[in-house]
Amino acid sequence: MHLILFIVFAGFCLTGAINLLLQTHPINSALSLIVVMTSLAVLYLLLGAEFLAAAQVIVYAGAIMVLFTFVVMLLNAGREERTMGSRTARSIGFPAVVAILGVIATILLRARGLGVASLQDGVTTTENLSRILFHELLLPFEVTSVLILIAILGAVALARQGDGEPPANQISYGRRERPGAK
């Protein structure tokens, strides 16, 4: 059962990720990414991480991807035109990806001592998780909440219309001209 579920949802993951690369419209890429994230939630459940599976669905597939689709629709992002990209990306990036993937795969396939995962393994309950999170790691947890607060303030400050700027519909994007000049 574990094997079947793993193969099915790993397949979903890989199909979604490849589809993300192949689609030219950002909204289709966003929907593929949602497929990847929900299948990853099932894989977390198979590995006994029940809280993280729920958090993955709520935080990633819910909140973050809603933000992404919202921005795609707000900016009316159209079809992207494919260009060749930079020379650095082609000459260094792709060989590096292949090399890293090859090294990791070789190490993993030759590794000894890695166990197996089955459905009989125990799950990490939310109680176990919160016991460590709120006793040993309380300070990092609180620091992260400050980080989130600062990020929210930064997002608001970045995204809001500046006071001195004219409204967006009066800005001329093509030529550079002073606002108010006829």
Binding site: L3, V59, A117
Partner: protein, 107 residues
């Protein structure tokens, strides 16, 4: 029939899946020409690393690995909020999302 339901999956397969997802994220980062999809590729890489964390937490029966994933999720949420706000600001200033045309800081 019974053997199908009790079969186990090697931990290495999970790690391999994570590595492949990470590589796909890097490839997406390199080939995508839209600012938002480039950002999505970064999220894909973060998710691939999270899968590694959960897998190793299962392997070594260490709960702290899962807590690390929790922190990565929080940082990813903050990063998505700030990153998308920056994308909106860039779009407002340059009226484009194509990364080839956002090259003001290029040498």
């Amino acid at each position: 029939m019974n053997s199908v339901f009790t079969q186990e999956v090697p931990i290495a397969w999970y790690l391999l899946l994570s590595a492949v997802l990470f590589a796909l994220g890097v490839v997406g980062f390199l080939i995508k020409r839209n600012l938002i999809t480039v950002f999505m590729s970064i999220e894909l890489m973060l998710n691939a690393v999270n899968l590694s964390f959960v897998t190793f937490a299962h392997q070594w029966h260490a709960v702290k690995g899962q807590i690390f994933v929790f922190f990565v999720m929080m940082v990813a949420a903050a990063e998505a909020a700030v990153g998308l706000a920056i994308i909106i600001a860039v779009f407002r200033a340059r009226a484009t999302l194509a990364v080839d045309r956002i090259d003001l800081m290029k040498l």
